[in-house]
């Protein structure tokens, strides 16, 4: 068995923080090697080292059994290392072929792009690895799964022999994940080596040939799936027992916090984006909203909060008809909102935590008193959130942008649950946060439910939907296509429903 990558004693220090130390990983050629760990465990620093974006302070790297110094991504590509980023970097208004050659164009007489040659090369790659893409499709018309294959083809086009995939399944539905895994198997059959970064343990167990667990910047275990289990992996990741959410024992109440009746909404161009939506949430109920991203979830949230008014039908949020209420009135009436994009919609990144505590509550007690902000109340209540939600920060005077994503999210969740809202809109509340933060957030969502808050849980994480929801509504192309009972549904059925298939 030949070795594709060998990392020995890798160390990287940032001022005050050790990002990586004593990292030891050996990856066999032709293997799918998973690297798992919580956020901040050092996975991304390690990958940046491997891809030449960060220079290690100590340690050795060997690629295909010869020592290597990787000073830049160009070096990495030269050594046959390619990176498929989590966020796709594709130009929408160009074709697949154009996107793939961009930046490494074969030239005719050094002036003209030799598309014929590029096409031939790409066709070879498509055939060899069984990637289902069409060079002439416009990227704008492609779904997420296909776009990911284009990204993979792009890396292969540059001659990669080792592929680094950074959380590749984060944006996919179960069926797309299956397709991706088939493709990955196809790649390794042809001798490619794959590094698969993830924190979804199911997937790692399903696809990896070998697994490395990282914690606090170092590698804590090297395992093979056959000889381990999810529980053990999770314990290695967090260095202790995994807290499990308390089971929900309360029943939803009679009272309704949201009533959407036959609501439709058009975008600015007059195109219908939401079609005849019917949705009800009771107090003390968690309604999961499942769907592939971009099927109208964000528009539905805006509709519920009154930012978008229905063109037909009605929306009554916490007893207010949104048609003649402002967002301010609706929020002040007891609506908490955990936005999907926390850094853009949930925080003032350049402001302190206590100032961020005020956001959304600036016109209600105790954060303000008439026309004046109550700084003291904001400071003391931000202290409370920091304690109750385990936000790890030296003080409430730290700027929001200094915290890690998980801690930012815990702070937002704490803020939005302040003052016991009647309704809580939680959009991807645990996306990109580590297992520990996820457990805390789940716990608090269940707690809110017990206290009689009606929760709309918008999530792409099926695990989350199944764990928390009392009912699951499935949204597809701007309309609710199905209601499912999480206790009587399998993830596969839910995945199918999300792609618009009716469950028989």
């Amino acid at each position: 068995m030949s070795v594709a990558i060998e990392l020995k004693g890798i160390e990287k220090n940032y001022p005050g923080v050790v990002a990586n130390h004593d990292v030891e990983i050996t990856i066999a050629k032709g293997n799918i090697h998973a690297i798992i760990g919580e956020n901040g465990a050092g996975k991304s620093t390690l990958m940046k080292i491997l891809y030449g974006m960060v220079k290690p302070d100590a340690g050795t790297i060997a690629i295909f059994e010869s020592p290597a110094t990787i000073k830049s991504p160009q070096d990495a590509i030269g050594l046959g290392i390619g990176m498929v980023h989590q966020h796709f970097m594709l130009a929408d208004n160009a074709t697949v072929l154009e996107n793939i050659v961009l930046g490494s164009e074969p030239m005719k007489a050094k002036v003209v792009v030799d598309y014929a040659k590029a096409r031939e090369h790409l066709q070879n790659i498509i055939k060899t690895y069984g990637l289902d893409i069409n060079p002439d499709d416009l990227v704008a018309d492609l779904g997420v799964g296909v776009r990911q294959r284009v990204e993979i083809a792009k890396v292969l086009f540059r001659g990669a022999k080792i592929l680094i995939l950074d959380e590749p399944t984060a944006v996919l539905v179960p069926q797309e994940v299956d397709d991706l895994f088939k493709n990955l198997k196809g790649l390794t059959k042809n001798g490619l080596t794959i590094i698969f970064i993830s924190h979804k343990l199911d997937e790692v167990m399903a696809i990896a040939d070998s697994i490395t667990v990282m914690r606090q910047g170092t590698t804590v275990a090297n395992l093979v799936p056959a000889k381990t289990n999810k529980k053990e992996l999770a314990e290695y990741m967090i260095g202790g027992e995994l807290p499990s959410p308390r089971p929900a024992t309360t029943k939803p109440r009679e009272e309704k916090v949201l009533v959407v009746t036959n609501a439709s909404a058009n975008d600015r161009t007059g195109r219908e984006i939401l079609h005849s939506i019917n949705l009800e949430i009771h107090a003390g109920e968690i309604l999961g909203l499942a769907g592939v991203e971009g099927n109208g979830q964000s528009e539905l949230i805006e509709l519920i909060m009154g930012l978008v008014k229905p063109d037909a039908g009605s929306v009554v949020t916490v007893g207010l008809d949104t048609q003649d209420s402002t967002l301010r009135e609706i929020r002040d009436h007891g609506v908490g909102y955990i936005p999907q994009d926390r850094q853009r919609d949930g925080l003032m990144m350049a402001a302190t935590l206590w100032e961020n505590r005020i956001l959304g509550h600036q016109q209600t007690k105790p954060m303000s008193n008439g026309i004046w902000i109550d700084k003291g109340a904001a400071k003391s209540d931000s202290e409370r959130i920091i304690k109750e939600f385990d936000v790890r920060t030296p003080s409430n005077a730290v700027l929001a942008n200094a915290l890690s994503g998980g801690n930012q999210q815990k702070f937002i969740v704490g803020r939005e649950m302040s003052g016991d809202p009647k309704m809580l809109i939680a959009a991807q509340p645990t996306r990109g946060v580590d297992v520990g933060a996820q457990a805390i957030i789940w716990d608090h969502l269940i707690e809110a439910r017990r206290n009689g808050t009606g929760v709309l849980l918008v999530s792409a994480d099926l695990d989350e939907l199944f764990t928390l929801s009392d009912r699951i509504a499935v949204i597809f192309r701007g309309t609710i296509v199905d209601y499912l009972d999480p206790r009587k549904t399998t993830p596969e059925q839910l995945g199918l429903a999300m792609t618009g298939e009716k469950i028989a």
Binding site: V17, Q216, E235, G239, M348, A351, L399
Partner: protein, 367 residues
């Protein structure tokens, strides 16, 4: 301890910028064959003569108001380059209104001031409206509005409309405001300090209190820091942008009011242009902080007052502009450096806060 640290860094940036500027200008002076030390002494001694000091203070008030007007815009990430047009149109119409009325002083003076404020706000709100409703950059629309304001003023200043020919200069001017619309000056240091300075101080206090203590100010700053987060928090963010533009224009409308009320009592084309750029530069220098802007404005006025003396002593007076330009660049740069240093310090603290508890967890790892 922490407070001392923050105080140190807040002062370090401007001091470093001043030091850099002095060194840089010294090099230029040496290259020109002039003695830097004696040049700086000349500026300092000429600028600090009592009668010059009063003139500087009067100029400071005008610059200060332009600076505060720009600073309000900055808080919303608005670049109000239209201060020039807003202020001139405001002063012109205020002068016309003042010249056409003759109320008792306690009504006449406020009437003139309020006219200026309202005109400045209205003129700026054109740009605000275009920005919010039509997504047109306020920079572009304000530059155009400046030109339109100039044309409008010249048109309306023609004899037979609102203008008169004659007076001391040959300039076209509005009819003189009656005495009831005059604001007295304070006689100090052998000069006449416009009492409008007190209005400027009040504006500065109001600016600080409203922005930092009130719900309205919070909404304004939140919208400036993150439009989307403010919107999600329930703020009517587009309206906030519009209001901020109008407020910036309202303060711009006070710029030059001291001169009108206490000195010229008439608007003529002799009123200076270029307050927009100066105001923006001062807001930048003063970090949008009212005291910072005041210091910067005085510094500006001081240098400009001293400039003519340089020419008389064989040093080109353009050296003053060079100092002004250098200090803006140096200040912006040094604040950015300080920001990075303090951010790194903070990240280190955050890293330390995250680490120990992770360690405690690690000890609990099962065998």
């Amino acid at each position: 301890m922490k407070r001392v640290n923050r105080f140190f860094w807040a002062l370090a940036a401007p001091l470093a910028a001043v030091l850099f500027t002095l060194i840089f200008v010294s090099i230029i002076l040496l290259m020109k064959g002039a003695n830097p030390l004696s040049t700086f002494q000349l500026i300092a001694s000429y600028g600090s003569q009592p009668e010059n000091l009063v003139a500087e203070l009067n100029q400071t008030v005008a610059y200060y108001l332009a600076g505060v007007a720009a600073a309000i815009g900055f808080r919303m990430l608005l670049f109000n380059i239209g201060i020039d047009g807003q202020y001139r149109l405001a002063i012109f119409i205020a002068a016309v209104v003042g010249g056409a009325t003759n109320l008792p002083a306690f009504l006449e003076v406020p009437l003139i001031i309020i006219t200026g404020v309202v005109v400045g706000a209205l003129w700026a709100s054109i740009a605000g409206y275009l920005k919010v409703k039509r997504n047109i950059s306020e920079v572009i629309s304000n530059i155009m509005l400046n030109t339109i304001a100039s044309g409008l003023i010249i048109y309306m200043l023609q004899p037979g409309r609102f203008g008169l020919k004659g007076g001391l200069s040959d300039n076209l001017a509005t009819p003189t405001i009656p005495k009831s619309g005059w604001l007295p000056s304070l006689h100090i240091m052998g000069g006449e300090l416009y009492s409008f300075a007190f209005v400027a101080i009040a504006v500065g206090v109001l600016y600080w209190v409203v922005l930092n203590k009130s719900v309205f100010g919070f909404n304004l700053r939140a919208t400036g820091m993150s439009f989307r987060a403010a919107r999600a928090s329930g703020v009517n963010a587009p309206r906030m942008v519009f209001i901020t533009m109008a407020l910036s224009g309202a303060i711009a409308g006070l710029t030059g009011m001291g001169e009108l009320l206490s000195h010229t009592h008439t608007y003529s084309l002799a009123f200076p242009t270029g307050y927009a750029l100066t105001g923006l530069a001062l807001a930048l220098l003063g970090r949008s902080n009212p005291i910072g802007i005041a210091i910067a404005a005085f510094f500006w006025a001081f240098l400009e007052q001293a400039a003519p003396a340089l020419d008389l002593n064989g040093v080109p007076k353009e050296i003053v502009m060079m100092m002004q330009g250098t200090i803006i660049l140096a200040t912006v740069t040094s604040y950015e450096i300080v920001k990075r240093i303090t951010r790194r310090q903070q990240q280190r603290l955050v890293g330390a806060a995250e680490a120990p508890r992770v360690d405690a967890d690690a000890k609990g790892v099962k065998s």
